[in-house]
């Protein structure tokens, strides 16, 4: 007699937990574990940690520590509601150093982002769908976005923002430009990273969902939103054929007419909302 809840647990672990454990096995000298106290002190102070030149050796590990903690919370919740089996032992005990550090960091991070922790009692019937959404959200673009907005140093952030401003500038000058795959891989995080389907709703993935919200307290999201707006403005003239181009230009012209508020200031995010409206695209936020 099979135990499908045990299979579900193992399948979840193989997709979510095992790649993280493999990462730490393959990177035994990862600095994230050693620098976790520094990380927590920074975020408790409401600041972004600054690991200087070491950030590239620290940030991937820190991100995985947070994801590992999230994965363990999914398992805990899944066992509570009977979706996962309590009969089998989850991989790697949550008491280990990395696991404990992750849970602490996740709690602090969620507090900083204004979410509730520990989590509320989410509807058990929606658990499979929520879990599936949380797994689907783990794309390269999303992970890059989370690492950049939450974890990298200010200097590194500035470099990446400058790349996006360069893109806006190139698009303004040459709307028919074709960009290299390498460059597009580099900036893809700003295109699809903030476009998560996840909503904060009392789930272990709330820290990822909250990081996407247009939270005015989170300066990097504001700055990113402004640069994305620059890119959208620059993209107005795109259109390889005249019909598509005219439609896009018309939509942007309409957009400009509705963009200014009473004081004539620009509303970040308005371009996108208006485009969604004009093209009848459901709002995903």
């Amino acid at each position: 007699m099979i135990d499908i809840s045990a299979f579900r647990l193992r399948a979840f672990e193989s997709r979510f937990i095992v790649p993280i454990l493999n990462y730490f096995e393959e990177h035994p000298h990862d600095q994230a574990h050693a620098r976790r106290s520094e990380f927590m002190l920074s975020i408790q102070a409401g600041e972004t940690p600054d690991f200087g030149r070491e950030h590239e050796r620290v940030v991937p590990g820190l991100l995985r520590i947070l994801l590992l903690a999230e994965g363990r919370l999914w398992i805990q919740r899944g066992i509570e509601i009977g979706y996962f089996s309590p009969r089998v032992e989850p991989l790697a005990a949550p008491e280990d150093d990395i696991g404990t550090a992750g849970l602490e960091a996740l709690g602090v991070l969620l507090g900083m982002l204004g979410d509730s922790y520990p989590f509320s009692e989410a509807d058990a019937t929606e658990f499979p769908e929520n879990l599936s959404d949380a797994i689907e959200d783990l794309t390269d673009s999303r992970l890059d976005f989370l690492g950049l907005t939450l974890l990298v140093s200010k200097d590194f952030w500035k470099i990446r923002m400058a790349e996006l401003r360069d893109l806006a500038s190139i698009l303004r000058d040459r709307p028919d430009v074709t960009l290299s795959s390498r460059f597009m891989d580099r900036v893809s995080w700003a295109f699809q990273g903030p476009e998560a389907k996840l909503l904060p709703s009392g789930l272990p993935s709330d820290w990822r969902a909250a990081a996407t919200e247009r939270n005015p307290e989170w300066a990097r999201l504001q700055e990113l939103e402004e640069v994305r707006l620059e890119i959208l403005q620059a993209a107005k003239r795109i259109g390889p054929d005249e019909q598509g181009s005219i439609q896009l230009r018309t939509s942007f012209a309409l957009d400009e007419a509705t963009q200014l508020d009473g004081e004539g200031s620009h509303k970040p995010g308005g371009d996108e909302r208006t485009l969604r409206m004009i093209f009848d695209i459901p709002d995903e936020s």
Partner: protein, 218 residues
């Protein structure tokens, strides 16, 4: 159920179709045992028993990819010198059910069609990369016309019934052109659903389950 995902901003339509064609036989008719048992926990009582039926479901761009994979598979089989005596590829056992397939391309040319299909930011990324999903879905592209011509040429031949898809269109669908192939086996539309929602079942909208199972929803 086996879900096949791909990155439409980066991957090539023909490449994904080839990958589907090459990899599906790993899972059908005999289950891939490594996928049926994870850390000693099996997915079902008999993880070795072969499947009795293959149903391929596609939505939007996925529909075009499925059509392409099947047409290429059929053509390659017919190209074999004694194909009548060689075993037919297992993927050609399939019943094919497509939700609003993009096999005639986007309604709107240029970036606009991609924006409607994928959203603003994925569309902009596809445009800047000149990805296959952007260029190949422009109305009249060679990928669209080649796939259609090959499928229509092959679908009436014995043993290639898999190329005769069953279709369910959203009504209204303002993203893709709702044009069927002459050789498609069945088509219908469902009101009150959009291009994006047509394939997503819920308690109040069971039609996707019914269509996937039987090729009809009413």
């Amino acid at each position: 159920m086996l879900f096949v995902g791909y990155d439409s901003t980066r991957e090539n339509i023909t490449g994904v179709a080839d990958s589907l064609r090459h990899n599906l036989p790993r899972f059908y008719p005999s289950p891939l045992v490594d996928a049926m048992i994870v850390s000693e926990e099996p997915a079902r009582d008999d993880i070795y028993a072969p499947y009795q039926e293959l149903i391929i479901i596609g939505h939007s761009l996925g529909g075009l990819i499925v059509r392409r994979a099947l047409a290429d598979c059929a053509q390659l089989w017919l190209n074999e010198p004694k194909h009548a005596h060689s075993q037919r590829p297992s993927i050609l056992d399939a019943k094919v059910r497509l939700f609003s397939p993009a096999s005639a391309g986007f309604r709107a040319a240029g970036l606009l069609g991609t924006v409607k299909a994928s959203g603003i930011w994925p569309a902009l990324e596809m445009y800047l990369r000149r990805s296959s999903a952007f260029t190949d879905l422009q109305p009249g592209s060679s990928t669209l016309s080649d796939t259609r011509n090959r499928t229509q040429l092959l679908a009436t031949q014995p043993g290639l019934e898999a190329l005769r898809a069953e279709l369910l269109w959203a009504n209204p669908d303002d993203v893709v052109l709702p044009e069927r192939y002459d050789t498609d086996a069945y088509w219908d539309s469902i009101s009150g659903q959009t291009h994006r929602s047509v394939c997503k079942p819920n308690t109040n909208y069971p039609a996707p389950w019914l269509f996937a199972r039987a090729g009809r929803y009413r």
